[in-house]
Point group: C2
Chain length 297, copies 2
């Protein structure tokens, strides 16, 4: 399950709550596109902003709409006890795996991060993907910490936050991590603009933001890399550079929020406050990039 | 209310929940000590790890135990809608003020931070203290942003994260902020090891971690500075350097957690997982520092 393209949809959310119909349609669209899994309630899915009840309901909707495609659900929370509740809810909803970032308010020590994964993996009956995202959690995973956590029961994958720009350095980075983790644990790349380099360097999966809204585009890149067509994967990624530039400038979440509403997949606002959509200028840049790339449906 | 010593107690919390009896006793001890306000459910009070229900209950307990001393309650949450619920609960509990840090998962733009305070202050019937704590929120407030927020209705204070080491630079920093905010908005210093410098530079309040467990010590320093005895305040702070060094090394929360249990004010564990108490070596350093400073009751 933690291989190939994992597509991370928005959870369209306003001050009135989750737009459940739009969410089910987004997930069904991804399932129909032929990806390998759906990453529901990831950072793009706004898990950190939703209540336990909303997250349980979203997990149920995602599993129902996924039509048999494996659903991975984010169970992160600031407190271990709450993570355990979310894991229970997700498993009851029938998810195939869970995704856990070590959210922080107080900065955590390495032993505290390890302890979180130890406390949670012990209670799981589905595999877990370790979500390494320093941009949101401010936890700096060392490879040694990844190695310790990857030995825990039920750990199936590590979602890394992107690979270096230089393809050889990307290869070294993936190889170094690989030597420290069991063969049963896959490595998945995120940071969409580094995905082709990550897959070409041997990452097993792409945990993809763009895949949650433009699944065919992400799938073409993934399948090229999986077939060993590294140059083709790199070219497909280079072609998307106008979008990657906007991701880096505004954050992928806000760009995808604008793109999804431009495509008519969601209403606006689709992000919960205090998050706000892009301003009009940035929004026009997104639309221009989508038009130029032919990403209009 | 946002003047003098505001003492921030722990909320003793284990996997079994909040130790309500210990919490009420901690607050009552602060009220008896003669501080100017009690900062319940601040970072030291672990607000970010508690449910809405636990926070409502803790606010009620704090107001009940404070015996008329003004209680300020932290209402921070990742989502604006949840902040508004927490504000309502706190006001129903009878708090005198609220404290709001812009918690983040996705990094927030300046306009999003401003929008949060705009949305929340509009609904308040008690004054608000803006809680600037980049160490936990990763929001870097500019003075210009402070100036914009301080114009909003119901803003009564700004809790700044410490002042520079050099007393003249500390003075310049406080003076610069003062020129941008209304006269009705006070400035309070935090980062306990900078408190004497902050108060000597004209900060109106000390939002104090040590004051939540050792109120007499914090009060002596505060009253010296308020009386214009800058050298005495600085000396009192210098005398506490062994404790400040431990705060900087381990985080003030973990040190105060160990100190409070050493004094018999709480059981252990008193921090919610994933947070863990200090290891045995660090704990012995805390006990040695407390003994050397005579902070034994």
């Amino acid at each position: 399950m933690f291989r190939g393209l994992s597509a991370f949809p928005l959870t369209p959310t306003s001050e009135q709550g989750i737009d459940e119909a739009a969410y089910a349609a987004l997930v069904a669209r991804l399932a129909a596109a032929g990806g390998d899994s759906i990453g529901a309630l990831g950072s793009t899915g706004g898990y950190a902003y939703l209540t336990r009840e909303q997250r349980a309901r979203a997990a149920q909707i995602a599993v129902g709409a996924a039509d048999g495609v494996p659903v991975i659900v984010g169970i992160g929370a600031l407190r271990t006890a709450h993570v355990l509740e979310l894991a229970e809810d997700a498993q009851k909803a029938g998810v195939s795996g869970v995704l856990l970032a070590p959210m922080t308010y107080q900065l955590l020590t390495e032993d505290e991060v390890f302890g979180l994964y130890e406390d949670v993996t012990r209670e799981l009956s589905v595999p877990l993907c370790v979500y390494d995202n320093p941009g949101t959690t401010h936890v700096q995973f060392t490879d040694e910490l990844h190695g310790r956590i990857a030995q825990l029961p039920n750990v199936g994958s590590i979602k890394i936050p992107g690979v270096p720009d230089d393809p050889r350095e990307a290869q070294l980075r993936v190889d170094a991590l690989r030597t420290l983790i069991p063969d049963t644990v896959t490595i998945g790349v995120s940071g969409d603009w580094t995905a082709a380099r990550g897959l070409n360097a041997g990452c097993d999966a792409w945990y993809s933001v763009i895949g949650g809204t433009f699944p065919q585009t992400a799938l073409a890149l993934t399948r090229a890399a999986q077939a060993g067509h590294a140059d083709q994967a790199a070219e497909l990624s280079e072609g998307l550079e106008p979008l990657w530039a906007l991701f880096r400038r505004h954050g992928s979440l806000r760009v995808i929020s604008a793109a999804a509403s431009h495509l008519g997949l969601t209403q606006e606002p689709n992000l919960p406050r205090p998050l706000r959509g892009l301003d009009e200028t940035a929004r026009q840049e997104v639309v221009a990039a989508l038009d130029a790339l032919g990403l209009t449906s």
